[in-house]
Symmetry: C2
Amino acid sequence: MQLEKTTKLRQIEEKRHYDDACGLAHALELVGERWALIVMRELMFGPRRFSELRADLPGISANVLTQRLGELEQRGLVRRVQLPPPASVQVYEATGWGLEAAPVIRELGRWAVRSPRHDPGLFVSPVSIMMSLQTMFDADRAGDLRGRFGFRFGHTGFVADIGDGTIDVRRGDPVGSDVLFNADPGAIAGVLYGGAPFETVDVSGDRTLAKRFVTLFPLPPKVETS
Amino acid sequence: MQLEKTTKLRQIEEKRHYDDACGLAHALELVGERWALIVMRELMFGPRRFSELRADLPGISANVLTQRLGELEQRGLVRRVQLPPPASVQVYEATGWGLEAAPVIRELGRWAVRSPRHDPGLFVSPVSIMMSLQTMFDADRAGDLRGRFGFRFGHTGFVADIGDGTIDVRRGDPVGSDVLFNADPGAIAGVLYGGAPFETVDVSGDRTLAKRFVTLFPLPPKVETS
DNA sequence: CCGTATCCAATAAGATACTG
DNA sequence: CAGTATCTTATTGGATACGG
């Protein structure tokens, strides 16, 4: 009885809130809970299943993921979609507005990696490493380089097209790419951002192009520690 | 005994963490706690005292503010500064890197105000309304308009300079501005963003210029509710 | 007045077991 | 596989008291 009342009140009161008209405060009411923005990140290249999300969110527990997805759906950032037969599985998909959070997520990441305490050796999800390509791409370094770069992570493939000083990254079959990276996201991160030797990743296709590729993503300078 | 052990462990383990090398995850370890980004927002136009922060952060409790400031200081985003005599008071100041979070904060805000549930009628702090000028300024609408616009909120003044299609906002004495707004932040927000009549704010100086000014900050369109 | 510290109640998060 | 249910722990907020 007492519990029911509390629950009902929570639905009305929308739990803790900042009584602040500032857009930032509202943003934090939308995606300020723990894990919320990281869940959004995982949806940025298309719909995902519950278990995929759980696998790429190291440390999240099922009940928290359920809760976050429910809240994000209720707030209009995520949609629950039933795939047609014969798949007939349920997936979670970012709405158009949800996808518009991508630039903010990238800028937050770019800002944070300047931190002296950032540890690039931790787990990296496929989506993380693919978003980092968009975040860290340096058009000047690319110059007039053109090429299609493919990535295969388990069952999922990604394609990055570089040309005209821009990079376009999407989920997709990497067959036919000029270069195909066959390595887990952590290994690729090691080469791109951790100074690991190029040989630590399995690359097929144009190796010269591949070696050029891995130089196109400079990290911003660390903040002065003084 | 048990408590001491837990406390010590917390200092080492840095409490909850995402084991994720992604920059976004690290950003959330830096400023993901409740209130952290809003505290940073309040420091974006210069150092502030504890009680000022408390007053402009409706609903924060003193102990949480103390804790947030301590964490932000430890992480290199905030500095504690002792003002020289005769003031001799302590203020909190964003570091250079902390200030670089400003664009991210603005973009988060711009993204969030498209939400159908955003309520512009809540409390607005002076810093919020001043940052919103930078966020929502429309260079096309401004055209070749030039002018200095002053604001007085209690003891604190702000100046916004518009010219060459840019806006520059800073803390400072508004005397000598072409237009001086003498109204609380909420009233100004009402006119700029809430459709309130221009006459609801006290304006001195060039009223024609002032009327033009309040049209330069269009809100982004709300997301489709369907 | 400027904070800090402490205690308590309410929520949120995490671990684990369990069900259709 | 896709979540729920339950229990434990951690964090937050509010009140209040305390030292400079």
